[in-house]
Symmetry: C2
């Protein structure tokens, strides 16, 4: 059986992304591996055994094309309203909080933010199957 | 603190993707939620508390643009050679096994496959920090 261990995103500016993911999702640098042409940074916190791998290709300053296929990475938080306020105060510009229903019952309460390269992050209230 | 819970990919054909992720990564459908315009499918196995969310937009038959930013999702397996042979026998066409060194020591041993929509999956031998 295969275990999911990380997902990889290419980002332009290592420091900017590491700083963003620390302040926004409280992800720490678990490991940084530097090569001649690129750097790999593994981000994680204690709440899950899954990492976000950032690839920084040295010498590239052209924004990546984010396409239409990849959607987002999702996180849950204990208190969505509080987190929304906190991110507003950090000037992260979260979208409005939205409630999403399925067959008349609340499925999800969430907002979206974008990371420095434009990748979408869904922030969900811990609720139902999102936990 | 925010907990990573899933990542979302848009796929064209629900049955094709669900079948692929079951046979290749042994991910099961944990939940399927059907809406008028789209379907959400959450895939998972017992080895990690992280899900792959598939979005199927009904009526869309145009392949998604995968862009240049999103890289891949990574998994570890116990026996890479055996997994490579198994996937070849399923006609999944894995790339050759590659060893990747950093400062003269083996960092990773892996191959890549593509899912039915072209998203890359890195299959790593359980080794070192990849576990």
């Amino acid at each position: 059986m295969a275990k999911l261990i990380h997902m990889m995103l290419r980002v332009l500016d290592e420091e900017r992304s590491v700083s963003f993911y620390k302040s926004v999702l409280d992800l720490d640098v678990e490991k940084r591996i530097d090569f001649d042409d690129f750097t790999l940074v593994y981000l994680k916190n204690e709440l899950n055994d899954f990492e976000l791998e950032l690839t920084i290709n040295k010498g590239n300053s052209e924004p990546y094309d984010l396409g239409t296929g990849y959607g987002h990475i999702a996180v849950v938080v204990e208190d969505l309203e509080q987190e929304h306020k906190r991110l507003q105060s950090l000037d992260i510009k979260p979208t409005d909080i939205k409630e999403f229903f399925h067959q008349q019952s609340l499925l999800a309460k969430f907002f979206f933010i974008s990371d420095p390269d434009g990748y979408k992050i869904e922030v969900l209230q811990k609720h139902g199957r999102y936990k």
